[in-house]
Symmetry: C2
Subunit: 314 residues, 2 copies
């Protein structure tokens, strides 16, 4: 299967570290040192994970070389749902006005991008679809407590839309060469380290250290797995796009893989942790940079725990 195009949407409001200094007494230096985050985006009061997802799709429409009416599958991905019954996928179906196609919305926390792509891979394998929209969207500020000094300063909002096709549509498409996902709910403090209980306190991360350790273990391991499946090694990798949770985690992943900082793609510095949208936004931001033959590894880790890796070739 192929990734034909990707586009993203970011809300306008920019929140700097000074905001959290005033609010919680956390200094810019303290935040940057621990997370790499300098800025993040915050959705306006009329925005939500569905509206941002639709905006990303609007942006995608300007870029694609097929007619939107040919879309035959929609998979939404979010853990910050605006509506869990009229889901993100349904909001997008309503917008693109394509009736009677499978529509589903998933969550495996921050790893959902790759879980969504794997669901698409399944529909393609069954011949039940051949042109699929994947929409990742997170409205973290809709569920966070910004006065939480442990994790309130981490979160940002944003969305991205990706168009996957079973057959190649254009020379610029990326081939999806390999994909693995896994739940790791049996590891460490998986079931309590990052939680979002809508009826309780929203998104919190009481055990950041445990997340750090497991993220730094699972992402390199999953990356090596997808490379091995294609008979490749880390030397063949052009870029790595890890889940945008913490710059120190990303650097640790690069270090474990033995890859230089220049091969890291990162947006956490100016977007914060945008959940399952982070890597997809990064792909969109750097799309024109990828050259024929480039291999890009996307690797994710999320609460629950869950992890995955995907190998793309331009």
């Amino acid at each position: 299967m192929f990734l034909h195009q990707v586009a993203h949407y970011l809300p306008e409001q920019v929140v700097d570290n000074e905001h959290f200094t005033k609010l919680n007494g956390l200094s810019d230096e303290w935040i940057v040192q621990r997370t790499g985050i300098q800025l993040r985006r915050k959705a306006a009061s009329a925005e939500n994970s569905h509206s941002m997802g639709v905006e990303a799709v609007k942006s995608l429409l300007d870029k694609i070389q097929i007619d939107i009416s040919e879309i035959d599958l929609i998979v939404g991905a979010t853990y910050t749902a605006y509506d869990t019954i009229v889901t993100l996928g349904h909001a997008v179906q309503h917008f693109i006005e394509v009736a009677d196609i499978p529509v589903v919305t998933i969550s495996s926390a921050c790893s959902s991008l790759l879980n969504a792509v794997e669901v698409v891979e399944g529909y393609f394998a069954m011949n039940k679809a051949s042109k699929a929209l994947v929409i990742t969207s997170e409205h973290n500020t809709g569920y966070y407590n910004e006065t939480d000094t442990v994790s309130g300063h981490l979160w940002g909002d944003g969305a991205a839309a990706l168009l996957f096709t079973k057959e190649r549509v254009s020379d610029g498409d990326m081939e999806m060469r390999s994909l693995v996902t896994g739940g790791a709910a049996t590891s460490g403090k998986a079931t309590e380290a990052v939680v979002l209980r809508p009826n309780e306190r929203g998104v919190i991360m009481p055990f950041g250290r445990d997340v750090f350790i497991n993220a730094c273990t699972y992402m390199p391991k999953a990356s090596l797995t997808v490379l091995e499946k294609c008979g490749l090694t880390v030397e063949d990798v052009s870029y790595v796009l890890p889940h945008q949770a913490n710059l120190r985690i990303s650097m640790n992943v690069m270090n474990t893989l033995g890859l230089p900082e220049e091969k890291l793609i990162s947006n956490i510095q100016y977007l914060g942790n945008t959940g399952c949208a982070g890597c997809a936004i990064g792909l969109s931001e750097h799309w024109s940079r990828f050259q024929p033959g480039d291999h890009i590894v996307i690797t994710v880790f999320g609460g629950g725990y869950s992890y995955g890796a995907m190998l793309l070739r331009k």
Copy 2:
């Protein structure tokens, strides 16, 4: 693929119509006439959609003829998530202690049972899994407003767990012969008729009439589609298990299909609308009733809108 077994869990507390008479002035006769509902179950304060899903899996373990360690895929389904990061699927993975298998949780509202089965079908088609747990669980009373006279009296809680396998495991397995799902977010008042916005008012159903009309259209249509795909007609159908939303909708579906009431399987009378768990609970309740050669149609419709049908043969 085959359905090897199914089990369910219902919370202990029973809520009768008199409760809503006292609370909202709705008479037993009024409720029964419009919905068919006489009783429903309500989760205890320590219960939630995850704990009920785990209880259903516990019950399943007593019935299955394979070792739980062989499970290689978990798909959770709920629109009433206890936690959207540590999802229902992760809660079940944590319980069964099987590491490094794909885990994903989905929502397409009340139709999610069939969307989850279709995700499993995809993993089987890719050869990425061969023994999958599907868990449907709804904690409607965690998100409802019982003083809402429009829909407060409709909702019940419950969960079911199903084990699907790529190959037949035992003579008692049901063959999954055909499955279709579809989003219908372009129809009627799809994006506002039934909603659950965790940051707003929880689950409400402001346009019940539009739900009724579309449910009565899509469920018979989807049922006929799965029959046609197998070269069968309604005369070959032993039982129909429609989404348990309203007894009048179920009767209307049977009427449109030209099938007698005896072939309808229904639990809404004593469980209320248990969301995407309703049909799976019904399958579990009636499992011993199905005879070799029986064809059972499960057809669903949910907010969003979304629909589907699946044909099982004992």
